[in-house]
């Protein structure tokens, strides 16, 4: 980000030393009236947007904006909770809805925050990327005259000539990967340097830090683009499947279908899945009695009609990959089998009916049976399925264990018009009893195999048994892998920018009585967290040692 420049720091982030860096760019003045005043205002606004301060404020706003998205129920993940909130807080809820607080992460104001943040990011990162590319060719600045004024400096005498001392220094520094600059390296120097101006070496290192910083910020942008891609080209679908049932991946056969904006039903891969068997096991002893132990959905599938048929065991954390889509096991439950006959024994309904447990403990499940074409009049039943039945303290039916050890159902029967002929959609888990009369004054409890005879010759219903069902989510997200790649890129960039320090080391050699005096100076970027001192000390020691060994070589060689 463009840091608000003070007089302390040059354009590369190093503290300003005299005669080292050019004068820092003046901070932008507020716009004055001029022929292109609007241009000035735009430029000023742009500068403000890409400043560190605004980035900071936008980051806070982003965090703040996400808070209601986590505390209030959201449309996307919990629409039932949203309806419940409306019922519980009828006066406040519409206002919150108007502000978009029930769908925060799709709300325009939230989008505005992160779009502004990313604009600020792009506006900062792109120029710096160009600057970094440019700096791959530029050299470190000239060594300042007074190295002792630098934050880290050292000085010692050697018995080598100035050229030799410089030679050794350059060798050591470039051995450490520093980029060097010597007098005469720059073409711009047109005049002959005077003696004394030739005896220095500048070294700089740590350009990867900036590269890491930019990689991190650009990767964040990549993550945003990947998420957008997933939202446009991906889809999510749900399907509940009873053991023994098969379904094909078309929109009519899915319970819910949430396509991305550019996705239609014809984009769905045409696979079929049969749930052969569902296994659910629970902990039968100890402090975690009743907690789930393992769930297995044994399926047979083929990727498209005519393809080889394969088997798979879908578990939680273990989805099925088929033709670009992933099938996840999300939940399971019970589907009691009911047989409804009319008074003469003609079977009108014979099916496993999924019951839903929701948040109820130990899989106490609820559901309905609808027999709209029963004779003489339509029949409807609301029921509760209890896997392991017991009567609690207040006399109510409760489930004490999630496995079907003592399954019973409790039913209330209704007769009349189920309201399905008008064509309006109904939930398959709810019975509309307006227009129906209750046939059983109290709920009737049936064990497996038992039959309830309805009064008035309206027929009977038998609790014939039960099946298990599994609910599956099918997803396709083309932005998934790019998002992961960008996430890893962000992490890599982060580590690079934290571990690599941009620093400069200067060496000046001046002639003295018995050889020369070597002066060293070094400094690091102002926001470096330290540690350069240790590196400088080590470098100084190594230079010293290198000079001494060259001295002794010379002495022995002479």
């Amino acid at each position: 980000m463009t840091e608000l420049r003070t007089s302390e720091v040059d354009k590369d982030g190093f503290p300003v030393q005299e005669a080292t860096a050019p004068a820092p760019a003046a901070s932008p003045a507020p716009p004055q009236s001029s022929p292109s005043a609007s241009n000035h205002w735009l430029r000023w606004a742009w500068r403000q947007l890409t400043s560190m301060r605004i980035a900071l404020i936008l980051l806070f706003l982003l965090a703040l904006g996400a808070i209601p998205g986590s505390m209030l129920p959201q449309e996307g993940s919990d629409p039932g909770g949203v309806r419940q909130y409306f019922r519980a807080h009828p006066s406040v809820a519409p206002l919150l809805n108007h502000l978009g607080l029930f769908n925060v992460f799709a709300a325009p104001w939230f989008a505005a925050i992160y779009l502004l943040l990313f604009t600020s990011l792009v506006g900062c990162v792109v120029p710096r990327t160009f600057r970094l590319a440019g700096s791959a060719r530029t050299l470190p600045p000239r060594a300042p005259r007074q190295l002792s004024k630098l934050p880290h400096s050292a000085e010692y005498p050697v018995s080598l000539s100035t050229e030799q001392a410089l030679e050794v220094s350059s060798r050591v520094l470039s051995g450490h990967g520093f980029r060097l600059r010597r007098p005469g390296d720059l073409n711009a120097m047109t005049r002959q340097p005077s003696p004394g101006e030739r005896d220095w070496v500048s070294a700089e290192k740590g350009y990867l830090r900036e590269a890491g910083n930019l990689l991190f910020h650009l990767s964040l942008l990549g993550v945003l683009v990947s998420i957008a891609m997933g939202g446009l080209l991906g889809y999510k679908a749900d399907r509940l499947l009873i053991a023994g049932q098969t379904f094909a991946n078309t929109t009519t056969d899915l319970d819910e279908f949430y396509p991305g904006r550019l996705v239609s039903g014809s984009d769905l891969p045409p696979f079929s899945i049969t749930l052969d068997k569902f296994n659910a096991s629970y902990i039968t002893s100890g402090p975690q009695l009743g907690q789930p132990a393992a769930f297995d959905a044994y399926v047979t599938y083929h990727a498209h009609p005519g393809d080889t048929v394969r088997k798979f065991d879908i578990q939680v954390n273990h989805p099925l990959n088929v033709d670009g889509a992933k099938v996840y096991l999300i939940g399971h439950g019970y589907a009691p089998v009911f047989k409804v006959t009319d008074a003469s024994g003609h079977v009108e309904y014979d099916e496993a009916t999924p019951f839903i447990s929701g948040t109820a403990a130990n899989f106490l499940s609820q559901g309905v049976v609808k027999v709209a074409d029963a004779q003489p009049e339509g029949l409807g039943f609301t029921g509760v399925f209890v896997p392991t039945a017991a009567v609690d303290a207040s006399g109510n039916l409760a489930s004490v264990f999630p496995a079907p050890d003592r399954p019973v159902v409790s039913l209330i029967a209704y007769g009349g018009n189920l309201g399905m002929n008008t064509g309006a959609s109904q939930s398959v888990y709810a019975l509309d009893t307006t227009g129906m009369t209750q046939l059983t004054p109290k709920p009737v409890v049936l064990a497996q195999g038992q039959t309830l005879k309805l009064p008035g010759g309206k027929g009977s219903i038998t609790f014939a048994g039960y099946q298990l069902w599994g609910s599956f989510t099918i997803t396709h997200d083309p932005g998934q892998l790019p998002a992961l790649a960008c996430g890893i890129g962000a992490l890599a960039g982060l580590l690079l920018s934290f571990l690599v320090r941009r620093r400069r080391v200067f060496v000046r050699v001046r002639p003295a009585d018995s050889g020369s005096v070597v002066s060293l100076g070094g400094l690091a970027r102002t926001d470096a967290s330290g540690g350069f001192e240790a590196e400088f000390a080590a470098l100084a020691a190594e230079l010293r040692a290198a000079h001494e060994s060259t001295e002794s070589q010379q002495e022995s060689g002479d």
Binding site: R53, L56, A63, A66, H152, S153, A154, E155, P319
Partner: protein, 342 residues
Amino acid sequence: MPVNLALGHVSNDFLLAALALYSLAVLAFAGDFAFGRPLRAVAAAASKPARTLATVGAGSVPADAGDSKTSLVSMPELRVPALRALFQATAWVRGAMALSMAGVTAHAVAVITRGFATHRAPWGDMYEFVTALTCFAAIFFLGVMIRYRAWALGVFVMGAVVLTLGLTETLIYTPAGDLVPALQSYWLSIHVTAMTVATGVFFVSAVLGIVYLAVDWYTRRVAAGRAKPGNGIVHRLPTLEQLDRLAYRTVVFGFPIWTFGVIAGAIWADQAWGRYWGWDPVETWAFITWVIYAAFLHARATAGWRGRRAHYVQLLGFISLVFNIMVVQIFVTGLHSYAGVS
């Protein structure tokens, strides 16, 4: 595999032992404040290379935060090897460090045996999570203390560890048990490990931030003439700049780990729930925490936001982290409700 309850009890015993040792260590650190020699005993012990170099500028131990030469305040890192500095410290410090190390060992044994008892990584429920993160915090801080000779900070960080562990033992202890199937995945080890380690590191930086703010508050009061200078405790602590740098470095260490933890969590969420990001409340708050710590890192590079304000931001980040663990994970319904706390 059935849970080894006996080993679970052993784990708990070791934790109580660690708690006792830590408490004694805190008392010893406090004793150093009350009865020990003043700090910065390392000034004279310069090593050989340092003597031959006539270093000018920041190279010696900073005496006061007002030294105009030392615009980049340094830490006395490689002047003296770490262990020698430890032996040169007061008896109180040596005792406190010994007790801390013993405590950390017991703490680590407690965490490891819990893992063996449950046949999985020992951070599956809230109790295990807090014991593990304080263990990482303690190990990390021991390293920091030795590297930077920051014994004076021992009483604060280890004191916070004692407080946290004590509350955990009394309020949210859960016996060793199995996990719900949704949690039985190797990604559990990776994601929750990263979050636990990062939380431990941020725990340390939060305590350092509080110490910084306290010292800063005192310094400003002195400057305004409302307090007497020369407070015994403050003088034994590192300078404001050193505290700031230490807290910053700690956050810098923890931030990539937290980032990795969020990414690993997204991978795990995709495996278990079919999508890598769904704005689940715990996910959202992990994101909020990440954004606040990112704001802290930005604040430190923004004029006018360095110092006190930046540390407010850093503490806000830790508060959001704790809020995520304590409130959101337990009370807000979402897919993350596997804390195991009833």
